[in-house]
């Protein structure tokens, strides 16, 4: 069951389709009722460059939560920034 919608920061997750950490991170966000935009950097070189510029990272997943960057599937940091728990 989806949780009721609530006010949340804008969440963008940069991913590639074959990345297991990305899949897990997206599943985690969905399970916590978080709405997000999924950017597939393997199909969009401009988005990939934008992600590298914003995060300094050449790896995914990178999650932008209201302008703050989370590198990898870091549940603790995701929970912190989204006030989950």
């Amino acid at each position: 069951m989806a949780k009721p919608r609530r006010k949340q920061p804008r969440v963008i997750i940069f991913t590639t389709p074959t990345c297991s950490f990305c899949k897990a991170a997206k599943r985690y966000l969905r399970a916590r009722g978080i709405r997000f935009k999924d950017v597939d950097v393997s199909r969009d070189p401009v988005a990939a460059r934008d992600m590298v510029r914003r995060s300094g990272q050449q790896g995914v997943p990178v999650i932008d939560i209201g302008g703050k960057i989370v590198v990898g599937f870091d549940r603790k940091r995701i929970d912190e920034l989204l006030n989950l728990n």
Partner: protein, 328 residues
């Protein structure tokens, strides 16, 4: 377009099953636990990275496993144990657990392919984790150093990369990279690539790939991002190969516990302390095999530990104080 659809929470979420027992690691310890829990009618799932991923699975010949007099490969022995567990109803899936929530009555395991829920968890992940990093590796992680080509290959389109390792995973990841990069140096510490022959043949036939056998990774060099890897061929001089990316798949002898996210305390050597029934400090969470402390690294010992844990789990889940002997 880079931005794809905005997802509705829960819309794409598949219904998750809750198991009685989820076992992380399908080597002799995990599989033996599964034989016993499945046979005790506990709904059991074993989540494993791959048949040849562990210490037994990659052993070429086993001659001292009781009841198996003819020499068999480790992978064959593991396969037989799995068939036995499956006969009692245990489910096996190929996946890697990336993160876990172990407190509470229902534990949640976040895998790359699915999320698993279970009332009891057995950690049987072995001790082939990597210990020491080479200089530059941590500094350039995410800036050219990666442990996941299937994640990050797209950032290295038309670039030169190095892949370091000598197992199925290293070769599979290198093959994935060849679709993106202009050139790939395969740095192999052993005198041959210890992986599935068909995979090795596919890799070596690829014109983008140069294989360097008996060569060790000494350091990752860079300036903001990776610019090269320093390698040492056996008996030769160190050299720096100019690369933009270094994908590292080396194994070691450290217990694999990264997915625990610090929920269980570890010994200074990185192993999991357990009691005499292989219970960890979190109720419902057990650990067996090479991942635990004070363990004799033999398949038959790992199997026995799996069985003791399975009996304890049966008791834990049924709220019994004493073990029900399985004499049949």
């Amino acid at each position: 377009m880079g931005l794809s659809l905005s997802l509705t929470p829960g819309a794409a979420e598949e219904e998750e099953k809750t198991y009685d027992v989820a076992i992380i690691g399908g080597g002799p310890a995990g599989t033996s636990a599964a034989i016993y829990t499945a046979r005790a009618d506990l709904k059991t799932i074993v989540i494993d990275k791959g048949l040849t991923a562990g210490a037994l699975g990659m052993t070429s010949k086993i001659e001292n496993y009781p009841g198996v007099p003819e020499p068999v490969t480790g992978a064959e022995l593991v396969e037989r144990m799995r068939r036995q567990a499956e006969r009692f109803g245990a489910e096996f899936v190929q996946d890697k657990i990336l993160s876990t929530e172990l407190e509470g009555d229902v534990k949640v395991l976040w895998g790359g392919e699915a999320t698993y829920k279970a009332r009891a968890v057995v950690i049987a992940t072995g001790s082939m984790g990597r210990g020491k990093r080479v200089p530059g590796e941590d500094e350039f992680l995410g800036r050219g150093v990666s442990y996941c080509a299937t994640c990050d290959a797209a950032f290295f389109r038309d670039k030169v990369v190095a892949v370091v390792g000598s197992n199925d995973e290293a070769v599979e990841e290198a093959l994935h990279l060849t679709k993106f990069v202009s050139r790939l140096h395969m740095i192999v510490p052993t005198s041959e690539i210890k992986a599935e022959p068909a995979l090795v043949a596919e890799l070596t036939a690829n014109p983008k790939v140069e294989v360097l056998l008996s060569t060790r990774l000494r350091a990752v060099e860079g300036n903001g991002t990776v610019t090269g890897v320093r390698v040492a061929p056996r008996g030769g001089d160190e050299q720096v190969l100019p690369v933009h990316g270094a994908f590292i798949y080396l194994q070691g002898a450290r217990p694999i516990t990264d997915f625990l996210d610090g929920q269980l305390s570890l010994s200074p050597g990185g192993c999991l302390p357990v009691d005499d029934e292989y219970r960890t400090e979190i109720p419902g969470v057990y650990a067996v095999g090479d991942v635990i402390c004070d363990h004799v690294k033999q398949a038959v010992v790992a199997a026995a530990e799996g069985v003791i844990a399975a009996l304890a789990i049966d008791r834990y889940l049924h709220g019994r104080k004493s073990t029900r002997a399985d004499w049949s």
